[in-house]
C-alpha cells in the first residue's frame, strides 16, 4: 500500500549496531536529520532511495511517530540515546557505540553507526549508484555552517596529530 521503498542500512567502518531496515509510511514519512549544517548527505541518500522527505530537525518540529529514521552526527553522549529512547530508528554518521547516561536504550535493532552513503541499499531491486559521494571521514568536516556566519571567519584547523588523540577511547566506553 505504501509507495515508499525500504532501505537497509549497515554499520560502516568501526561502526556498531544494525543492520536497520527503514520503511517509511504515510505516517512515518520524515527522514529526520539532526546534524550540523543542514541535511546531511546520508539523510538525503535515505530520502532519495525511499522516496520519503528529508527534514532538518533544527528548522522546526516533528513528532517522534512521524520519523522513519533519525540521522545524527553525535559524538557519543547525548543524541545517540535520545532517539532510541523514544523508539526512533537512529543512524549515527560517526562511529559511536552505546555510551552516555542513556546507553541502555541503544540497541542493535534501533541503532547503527559509522554510516556513510555507501552503506545504504534498497531492500528490493538494484541500488542506483550514489552521485559524488565523498567518504564518511571527509563528510563530517565539510559543511562548516556557523550559527552566525562571518565573511572573515577562517577555518583554523588544528594539526591532525593534536586532534587525533583518540587511541584507546573505545576501550573505555563501558568504564564510566
Amino acid at each position: 500500500m505504501s509507495e515508499y521503498k525500504a532501505v537497509k542500512i549497515t554499520k560502516g567502518k568501526r561502526g556498531w549496531g544494525g543492520p536497520l531496515v527503514i520503511q517509511p509510511t504515510e505516517k512515518k514519512k520524515y527522514i529526520y536529520c539532526v546534524t550540523g549544517g543542514g541535511i546531511h548527505p546520508v539523510a538525503q541518500r535515505i530520502a532519495d532511495l525511499t522516496g520519503a522527505e528529508a527534514f532538518d530537525g533544527f528548522s522546526s518540529k516533528r513528532e517522534f511517530d512521524e520519523m522513519a529514521v533519525a540521522v545524527i552526527d553525535c559524538g557519543g553522549t547525548a543524541r545517540v540515546g535520545v532517539y532510541p529512547m523514544k523508539g526512533v530508528l537512529t543512524v549515527d554518521i560517526h562511529a559511536t557505540k552505546p555510551s552516555g547516561p542513556l546507553f541502555r536504550f541503544i540497541k542493535e535493532d534501533l541503532f547503527v553507526s559509522g554510516v556513510s552513503v555507501n552503506d545504504i541499499v534498497l531492500v528490493d531491486g538494484e541500488t542506483p549508484p550514489a552521485e559524488a559521494t565523498p567518504p564518511a571521514e571527509e563528510i563530517k568536516s565539510v559543511p562548516d555552517k556557523p550559527l552566525a556566519p562571518k565573511a572573515s571567519e577562517q577555518d583554523t584547523a588544528v594539526p591532525a596529530a593534536e586532534l587525533n588523540k583518540k587511541k584507546g577511547f573505545f576501550q573505555r566506553l563501558f568504564g564510566g
Partner: protein, 123 residues
C-alpha cells in the same frame, strides 16, 4: 583570547540525568525540543577559534582546565552550539564528541550563568 561566550537561557527538565554522571550537555538555542529536555541551552553564536587541550572553560567565576578534546567536538560546537563537557579528569576522550575537564564538583548552573572558553594566553 576568548574563543566562545554564551549565557544560559534554558535548563532542560532532565538535565540532572547527565549532571549525575558529571556531564554537562550544551546546545544552542535552535535545538529541537527533544534535545532541550536534557540540555543546558545557551545563546552563544560564534566559535572564534577551535578549542583544544590546555584551554580554560569558565562557568560564572569557576575555571576548569580542558584536558582533552574529541575529534568532532569542535564541529558540533561550531555548527550546533553543542558541547559535551565531562568533568572526569581524563586526558584522553572516551567518545569523539567529548571535551574532558578537571574532575571537580560541578559548578551550579542556572539561567543567566555565563560560560566562556578561552586560551591561557588571555590571562
Amino acid at each position: 583570547m576568548l574563543k566562545y561566550e554564551a549565557r544560559v537561557s534554558t535548563i532542560g527538565p532532565y538535565t540532572q540525568e547527565f549532571l549525575d554522571h558529571n556531564i554537562i550537555v550544551l546546545f544552542g538555542d535552535n535545538a529541537p525540543e527533544e534535545l532541550v529536555e536534557f540540555s543546558v541551552i545557551h545563546d552563544g553564536k560564534e566559535l572564534h577559534d577551535e578549542i583544544q587541550a590546555g584551554d580554560i572553560v569558565q562557568i560564572d567565576d569557576e575555571q576548569f582546565s580542558i584536558l582533552a578534546v574529541g575529534e568532532v567536538a569542535n564541529d558540533n560546537f561550531r555548527n550546533l552550539g553543542h558541547l559535551v563537557l565531562k568533568f572526569n579528569g581524563a586526558d584522553e576522550v572516551e567518545m569523539p564528541g567529548d571535551v574532558c575537564v578537571e574532575k571537580r564538583p560541578l559548578p551550579p548552573i542556572a539561567v543567566g550563568t555565563v560560560i566562556k572558553v578561552f586560551d591561557t594566553k588571555a590571562q
